[in-house]
Amino acid sequence: MSPHLILRVVSKLLIPMIVVFALYVQFHGDFGPGGGFQAGVVTAVAVILYALIFGLDAAKAAVPPSVAQAGAALGVFIFVGVGFATLFLGANFLDYDVLHPNYEHRSGQHYGILLVELGVLSTVSSVMLVIFYAFASRVPDIKDEEW
């Protein structure tokens, strides 16, 4: 019988819901509170909760540190890439209107915000994970009597 059985079962139920909530926050950011930053933090929290309950090695097997490091750079790349894309399409830096011909519904703005928020999501979630991995890799796992 493993210790923290209740914690394990509850967090196994919770982690998928946390990730789905993060996606909701990400894609609903245009309409309600939220956006890339908050969604990124919530995504990172899901992995961190996994690491706290099932151990750091299991979390590193699920999301390797190299993936997190690449994700942090990828997000900045996407954001700056959108800026340069608008620049090459003949508009100002990060002027999203040129991204889509349908100016009537401001589709360019919507695409631009979507892409940029994806970049923020990637960077923020990866950075939070990288920092957590860096801290947690230096300490022994929490002892059972300290729970």
Partner: protein
């Protein structure tokens, strides 16, 4: 003077923030202090919701109560569980400095705009323009998102770079997070 329920909620939340702040300072057990800072963030998040700043509240709850509590716990595991008892000496100079800074802040309060003032600087010029222009220019319902990602996209790009730089600095200082597994591999080979 109207004293509606929201105001009572605001004042009780501020009172709880004060109480938690004093408790954190007085606390010797670091574990309890870290948990109380999480409570502090959660209370601030509740207060921000009451002030209609839901985006800020969301961030405060996720970052302040979630991530930074975990990171503080991780940092605490590297050190002792109890703080060293403070020395018996009283730092009078520090008290004078803190009192002076506090008095200066109180002196500045009358210059602040009244809470909810529609004519305050933040609500007048460019803020008002964003509120009026967002349905026209960006056509998204959440003005905060429109300002963050589109009007001030350049600023948000800078912030994303700042966050990236934070991870870079932590990686450079603490290693790439693969220290322990590498050690384990070495033990296996030996």
């Amino acid at each position: 003077m109207g004293f509606d329920l929201t105001q009572i909620l605001d004042y009780s939340l501020i009172a709880m923030l004060l109480a938690v702040g004093f408790a954190v300072v007085r606390m010797r057990n670091l574990f309890a202090a870290v948990m109380l800072t999480g409570v502090y963030s959660l209370l601030s998040a509740a207060w921000f919701v009451s002030l209609d700043a839901v985006d800020v509240a969301f961030t405060e709850a996720a970052v302040g109560a979630g991530i930074s509590t975990v990171l503080m716990l991780g940092a605490m595991l590297l050190t002792a569980r109890e703080a060293e008892p403070g020395g018996a000496t009283r730092h009078w100079m520090a008290l004078v400095m803190v009192t002076a800074a506090g008095a200066a802040l109180f002196f500045a309060i009358p210059d602040m705009p009244v809470y909810g003032d529609a004519m305050s600087i933040a609500n007048s010029y460019v803020g008002y323009e964003y509120m009026v222009q967002t349905p026209e220019d960006i056509a998204v319902p959440n003005v905060v998102t429109a300002v963050l990602s589109s009007y001030r996209g350049y600023d948000t790009m800078g912030e994303t770079t700042v966050i990236f730089t934070a991870a870079l600095s932590v990686m450079l200082l603490l290693g790439l997070g693969s220290k322990r597994s590498r050690k384990k591999d070495g033990e296996d080979k030996a």
